[in-house]
């Protein structure tokens, strides 16, 4: 097969068409500063620097198929993105400490009513002073607008180098959003104590965030050469729900968001961390060859391939623990196994399991990339 260019390769993998090799798109926003000798606090405060260390790392390692994100996600207004409090290097943490989400009950039970009456974005602004984030409350909205402009700028900088941006942030799945802002414990309490109220809040969030996200993608597309290839929908807590609750409070919203995004011409990428083994068959309900499921090394990706082969593109999942503790030959062996098994018949994008850890061994990161570029034993379709 002729060599494909990166964008062709990615398109083919998503649509389950033959590829010359598996596309490689690792998530490198946290490890790049460390690899470039830059403290994490500096990239949190300087988003141009956050992007530039990612570009330098991309170039140092000989490149791959697309940058996962255009720049850094971690800022002093992370609340506006994740709806959760966080602790940041250079603020609450030492300068080179890893940022972390800080599980707190910011949203109180009475805020269900506020959200249903005023909307989700109004809630994020209303509750922001409770978060205790470093950006002052009167700068919250202006800072979010600056962040959006930064995303456009970062995308243009990558594109000027001929490198496309893979993912932009899509709508946060409503159950995840509530569990982030209300705490998992209280959200589970809502599932049992006030299910109708929770459901009404989730309805409100979905109705507001999906059209907003579609608008953002369309605006970016106009302002850049290629825009974002996929919309990132992150989830990690929903598989804690047992089947009837999973369907009612999570899955029906995912199906709706996926369908709305697809209708708008946007490819959804389900970045689903934690263990989804018991829910793999649900993904068969999504349209074929149009959605990506990205796993983090906790779900059995080999089992996922068995269940979803010929149905959807899988992405992942070199585990964080392997990148930190393994030897390069172990990383190579794991990547080859991924390509052999999950890559069989196309429909696979090689990536890190969630984020490449900040303390990954540089030689392991290189082994992952180099093996992905040099190894592809399949040249057939299903």
């Amino acid at each position: 097969m002729d060599e494909m260019n990166p964008r062709e390769r990615i398109d083919a993998a998503i649509t389950l068409q033959p590829v010359d090799r598996a596309p490689i798109i690792p998530l490198m926003d946290i490890v790049s500063p460390r690899l470039q000798g830059v403290k994490l606090a500096h990239v949190v405060k300087d988003l141009d620097l956050a992007r530039d260390v990612m570009i330098k790392t991309f170039e140092d390692l000989g490149g791959w198929d697309a940058t996962f994100f255009p720049g850094g996600l971690v800022t002093d207004v992370g609340w506006g993105i994740f709806a959760m409090a966080s602790k940041l290097p250079g603020y609450e943490l030492d300068e080179d400490d890893l940022w972390q989400l800080d599980e707190k009950e910011i949203m109180k039970v009475e805020d269900h009513d506020f959200i249903q009456k005023n909307g989700w974005n109004a809630y994020l602004a209303y509750a922001y002073p409770r978060v205790g984030a470093p950006c002052p409350p009167d700068r919250f909205i202006p800072r979010l607008i600056e962040m959006a402009a930064q995303g456009v700028k970062d995308t243009q900088v990558w594109e000027a180098k001929g490198i496309s941006v893979f993912a932009g942030l899509g709508p946060q799945p409503p159950f995840e959003a509530v569990s982030f802002t209300r705490s998992l414990k209280e959200t589970v309490g809502d599932v049992y104590r006030r299910p109708e109220v929770l459901e009404a809040t989730l309805d409100t969030i979905l109705a507001e965030t999906v059209p907003m996200s579609i608008g953002t993608f369309q605006d970016l597309k106009k302002a850049t050469q290629w825009g974002n290839r996929v919309a990132f929908l992150g989830a990690t807590r929903a598989p804690f729900l047992s089947p009837p609750n999973f369907e009612r409070f999570f899955w029906k919203y995912i199906k709706s968001a996926v369908n709305q995004l697809l209708e708008a011409g946007i490819t959804p990428m389900l970045h689903f961390d934690s263990n989804w083994d018991r829910y793999l068959e649900c993904f068969l309900e999504l349209p074929r060859a149009q959605v990506i499921l990205e796993l983090d090394g906790t779900t059995d990706i080999f089992k996922a391939k068995q269940v979803l082969k010929g149905h959807m593109c899988l992405m992942g999942d070199v585990p964080a623990s392997l990148l930190k503790l393994g030897a390069p030959e172990e990383v190579t062996a794991y990547v080859k196994k991924l390509i052999d098994v999950v890559g069989e018949g196309s429909g696979f994008i090689l990536s890190t399991g969630c984020d490449c850890p900040v303390d990954a061994k540089p030689e392991n990161v290189k082994a992952m990339i180099d093996t992905g570029k040099g190894y592809y034993p399949h040249h057939k379709v299903f």
């Binding site: 890893l98 972390q100 998992l184 589970v188 104590r193 018991r278 090394g297 900040v358």
Partner: protein
Amino acid sequence: MSDALITAISELEEAQVVDLVQERLAAGADPQAILTACRDGMAQVGKRYEAGEYYVSELIMAGELFKQANALLAPHFAVGDGATKGKVVVGTVKGDIHDIGKDLVVGMLKAGGFEVIDLGVDVPVEAFVQAVKESGAKVVGLSGLITLSFDSMKETVAALEAAGLRSQVKVMVGGGSLTEKVREYVGADALGSDAQAAVSLANQWL
């Protein structure tokens, strides 16, 4: 009489649990017997989880019910009442502030009849050593989600060794990204894949 309370906990019927505990206390029932029924209910929840019927959310909710029952029962116990199966020191290690898994383990261990010394999150190495020294606990549970926690866990185990305590305690580790390879790196005795596994390990060791 205990069956209704056991069932109410096992079925996650919050209002019934509270009503039944209050009714029994008002009727002069032995608080220890009520606590035993609550623990039996939690044991049933654990079995349903192991059987795949219940998921993590049911463990979280059951933990909340047990906490509420305990709060109602607490004033009826004098300090030192109620023998436990043993003491367990638990915490999320230095540099990591994730508490969902740790709190689940704490709740399930308490429901399983263990006295838990919960050190919270971002726990310095010395705090674990101090807690083991002061409590005489024979089991230590180290929790962490991010890869940086692996080094803190390793340092904590080394500090227990340096303090001459390692041979007296069993150390279990748990958290989202942990694997058997991580357990080996840390030098722990066992890896717990979930909160129920932590209870099983503590039962084996104490």
